[in-house]
Amino acid sequence: MQIAEKSLRVTARPVARKTNWRTYFGRTWPLYAMLLLPMLQLALFHYYPMYGVVIAFQNFNPGKGFTGSPWVGLENFRYLFTNPDFTTVLSNSLIIAVAKLISLQCIAISLALMLNEARAALFKRTIQTAIYLPHFLSWIVLGGILVDLLSATGLLNRGLGVLGMEPILFLGNNLWFRPVVVITNLWKEAGWATIIYLAALTAVDPALHEAAAIDGANRWQRILHVNIPGILSVIILIACLNLGSVLQAGFEQILTLYNPAVYSTGDILDTYVYRAGLIAARYSLGGAVGLFQSAIGFVLILFAYRLADKYAGYRVF
């Protein structure tokens, strides 16, 4: 009896399955059809370049392509890690990125707390309009303005001249380049970065403020003991996510503002890849630096998401 049942099942199953699949696809084929173009895009412009990282282990020759170029193993990486330029570029990236992340978060939180205290609605909206605007301008527009503003004959140096000071070449001076990069990044992004904290502040329970006020807390104390704890989870979340970008020093900004005079403090991984890989056409070297950066970035982002999930309950989807 058991055997008969088993054999019956063996013969019956494929038939049932086939019709199931047919009805299933008959109904859901549009979903797969919709995915066709997006997957093709991913294949061509994301996965094909991912396959292209093989050039980091080759002596890439454009005529021979990804498949025909001779393999050199870790030769490119060996050259890279013994090259003092690489150490400079790596530390520049780290220093600039970390300085940017910390300054941006501090200023954005302060601005959000201040905007939250401003009760004149029109004033608040006007200030927001002004401080969000630079976020929507490209680094070329802002860079074009800055190059002129910070030049030897620019507005800033004219102001210094009035004060009786010597002109400073802000963008051609290794002492000034990093601070300029960090501050101009604040100009572009600090306003925009307040948005998430402002949203979190609207969620702070007014009853807490009332209770604190009745207990005699002044406004300063209420900011410290009600508002900041109220948005602490968002602050922690952003800090965790920031970890994923400690190698992202801001390619477009640096490429716009830097020049050979400040390579020793301002040259970063991305600009190095661009110059060595594309301008000098040392594709394999550029590919190796790029792969190094992508691989570290990948690990950092996974780590950042793990932390964000653990400490702030954050999920991408």
Partner: protein, 293 residues
């Protein structure tokens, strides 16, 4: 919120308003200076006498760059890439987000597709392989090079997918019982219900296309095919004014500085025009900002 009217609070308010006002002003001053320079005459701009108000008001700078062809050409390339690029971005975003908003039971293999998307989001081959692939595909020096490589903004797919998931399932189930296909439900239920989200993503995608310049710089080698921001880069960063093709005798009567300023203003005007609309969507921007970090 209760705030007593005592001198400490008044002082707090004054200091707070003042600081915010100063920061707001600092954000705008460089741009106002640039606009003032663009309307100033040669000697004032060259001598660096202009601060926030034009000296020797003139429209010459604008007349000169707008009377030559190259600015229009670059402008037109950018208009094209913004229109088609945004359209394709949005089409692919919707086509990817809708199926992926289904459960793994409803769409078999959904989790595989999701993985394919996430790996592409978290890992990239780097600049050089990306460039080589686009060259291999024969896209260099074409509008497609500016549109196709970024045609599927993965973050936007995830945002829209999360948005679609909040649409009540019953709507779709009822429509499917009445004989609707997935094409119908996407078109007649999901898209109309997500118009605010779609408008937000469209605006941000369009601004991104308008502002993009690096792809134009490495994927386009012919000046006549440069998008406006790449063109502007040549003028204001490389300081190459020849690309403007301004009449040779005229250029000696003009200040380089004022010409560059006018060019910056011209390239920025479209952003300033859509900025009020962008602001309407800042509430959604919160959600965008929340995930983009």
């Amino acid at each position: 919120m209760i705030i007593e009217k005592n001198w400490a609070n008044r002082l707090f308010d004054v200091a707070n308003y003042l600081l915010l006002f100063l920061f707001g002003l600092l954000c705008l001053l460089p741009m106002l200076h640039m606009i003032a320079v663009s309307f100033s005459n040669r000697s004032a701009a060259m001598g660096g006498f202009v601060t926030l108000w034009p000296i020797g008001f003139t429209l010459r700078n604008y007349e000169e760059i707008l009377s030559a062809g190259p600015v229009y050409q670059a402008f037109f390339v950018s208009v094209q890439r913004t229109l088609f690029g945004t359209l394709i971005n949005m089409a692919l975003t919707v086509l990817a987000a809708y199926p992926l908003s289904k459960s793994a039971q409803e769409l078999k293999g959904r989790n595989w597709f999701m993985w394919i998307l996430m790996v592409a989001l978290l890992f990239n081959g780097g600049l050089i392989p990306w460039f080589l692939v686009i060259r291999n595909l024969g896209l260099l020096n074409s509008l497609w090079a500016l549109i196709l490589p970024g045609a599927l903004p993965i973050w936007n797919v995830i945002l829209l997918m999360n948005f679609f998931r909040e649409v009540p399932k019953e709507l779709e189930e009822a429509a499917i019982i009445d004989g609707a296909s997935y094409w119908n439900t996407l078109w007649y239920i999901y898209l109309p219900l997500s118009i605010p989200a779609l408008a937000t993503l469209t605006l941000f995608a369009a601004v991104g296309h308008w502002n993009a310049w690096f792809d134009g710089m490495i994927l386009i080698t012919r000046n006549s095919l440069y998008p406006i921001m790449t063109f502007l880069r040549t003028v204001v960063i490389d300081m190459n004014l020849q690309i403007l093709s301004v009449n040779h005798t005229d250029i000696y009567n003009l200040s380089d500085r004022a010409i560059r300023a006018a060019n910056i203003v011209v390239a920025t005007v479209p952003i300033l025009i859509v900025y009020p609309f962008l602001q309407r969507y800042f509430i959604h921007g919160i959600r965008l900002g929340a995930v983009k970090g």
